[in-house]
Amino acid sequence: MTRTRISYLFLAPFLLVFAMFWIWPIISAFRMSLFNTRTNPWVFAPEMNWGRLLVDPAFLNALKNTFIIMIVQVPIMVSLAIVLAVLLNSPLLRARGLLRFAFFAPVVVSEVAYAAVFRLMFNADFGAVNRILDIVGLPMVQWFSNPTAAMSVIIMAVTWRWVGYNAIIILSGLQSIPQDVYEAATIDRVSKVRQFFYITLPLLRPVIVFSIVLSIIGSLQLFVEPFLITNRGGPGGATETLGLFIYRQGFAVFNFGYASAVAYTLAMIAVVLSLLNLWLGRERT
């Protein structure tokens, strides 16, 4: 047997699933986006779905919400993840296992389970958050009927769940930095804070870029949180994301063509933002 044949035999199961459930759907989705899928049979009408994108206020609202979440949430979470990773990596840390567990545990909690808990915690009438605000003398918040508050619940929830994940990635980057760099800096009386900004951050750059790219792609695809925590993007579409919008167009209205056009737009945004990040984060020599 030739090498090529052996290689493809090893690749066969993987490529079969890949071709059937990835390649074909990707092509099929693009084709669908060019058709009016609400007639039987479908009618070729490329301007219909793609043209609608520019003028559909519901789509533009979902796009805006997705971008707001991304622009606010990703920087907060990645900065927090960097700080956590540095602190959790400190040789001075006691009860290391327990403290790591606290931040890493949310990563394994099911999305549905955590959505349920957050919905209960932020309940305006009997949720723990409002009870605590009340006890410490702060005004209670109508978390799910105020648009800004609902948005901040989503941001807090996503940050809670994913910060540990990003901290793990950054921690692995930290552990690959040789210790003698810090020892030399300490001998030269460089302060810990300056060491962080002039040694740690620059050396972590590739890992941080990786973590930002993953977080951006993740935030573009938010679905479970607005679906379950804020009850289908409530109040009144204030937390509707692109993921939820595609779900609705695809599986509530069954407008497959339009949903596919939105999905392709989402994919293009993801690719452009990922490339932009890799370009901005490239090694400058």
Binding site: F21, W24, E111, I217, A267
Partner: protein, 278 residues
């Protein structure tokens, strides 16, 4: 010297003054899940914040079981996750092996396309996948539909490929001289050496399948084929079940993974650090 010791003590205090309160905030939602899973419904409406578990866990469990048949859905989730993990591990190691160890026509194309899918949002695929599996094949509510379409996993392949690349050539060449087939080299020589990586990958794959929500939500319509996240999700926002029952479901979904995480933390962490799956 004493000033150095004092500075060190100050650093320790500052470090923990930041981390410990933050850690408590992060543990709070999980703790609350356990607390409300074991409290009677009236406890919610009483003033104050209940921070200690009660004794009503089994009453809440019975309420949950009555409204959804939750035990059955947990069973479904276990079956799906176990088969999914086994198949996915086999597929990704075979593909990773080919990409790591052989030179063949089209290798660059295969590797490039696989890598290229990593930034692709799942929402691009989900509609045609659904149309194909549910409408064209008529496979809604089947094990096949739950397990096979999500099998593709680019990062798993890259993860396995890295592992096989790092192995020394001589070992495989020695086996080849003895006339061992390529398949036997893969299963008898390479796989045993790759065990730690495979363990890490298996955990991440199992977690992904266990927590997967959108695809099973779409492809399952019969209650007896639902996975646990779908069944639990269908209760959120309804008034026919108590919060206690929902929290029991959340605990049953979360606790096994937390226990696994505690036992296998090292594998989890190396799996995530390698970016095995999001």
């Amino acid at each position: 010297m004493s000033s150095l010791a004092a500075r060190r003590r100050r650093d320790v205090i500052v470090l923990h003054a930041v981390l410990v309160p933050l850690a408590l905030i992060w543990l709070f939602p999980i703790w609350l899940m356990f607390v409300f899973a074991s409290l009677p419904e009236q406890a919610l409406y009483q003033p104050g914040v209940r921070l200690w578990p009660g004794t009503e866990f089994f009453a809440n469990f019975n309420a949950l079981e009555e409204s959804t048949g939750f035990t059955r859905t947990i069973f479904n989730s276990v079956v799906v996750a176990v088969i999914y993990t086994a198949l996915s591990i086999l597929m990704t190691s075979m593909a990773g092996w080919a990409l790591a160890r052989y030179r063949f026509h089209g290798k660059a194309v295969v590797a490039g396309v696989v890598l290229g899918t990593m930034t692709l949002p799942y929402f691009v695929l989900v509609i045609p996948q659904f149309i194909m599996v549910a409408r064209d094949f008529g496979l809604s509510n089947t094990w096949f539909a739950l397990i096979v379409p999500p099998l593709f996993n680019a990062l798993g392949v890259l993860f396995m490929r890295q592992t096989f690349i790092a192995m020394p050539n001589d070992l495989f060449d020695a086996a080849r001289v003895e006339g061992v087939t390529e398949w036997q080299i893969f299963t008898r020589v390479a796989i045993p050496m790759a065990r730690p990586t495979m363990a890490a990958l298996a955990i991440i794959l199992f977690l992904f399948s266990w927590n997967n929500y959108l695809w099973p939500l779409l492809i399952v319509t019969q209650p007896d084929m639902m996975t646990a996240p779908v069944a639990l999700g269908s209760l959120i926002g309804l008034t026919r079940i108590s919060w206690g029952g929902i929290m029991v479901g959340a605990v049953l979904l979360t606790l096994p993974m937390l226990v696994l995480f505690v036992i296998l933390q090292r594998h989890f962490v190396s799996g995530i650090a390698a970016g095995a799956i999001k």
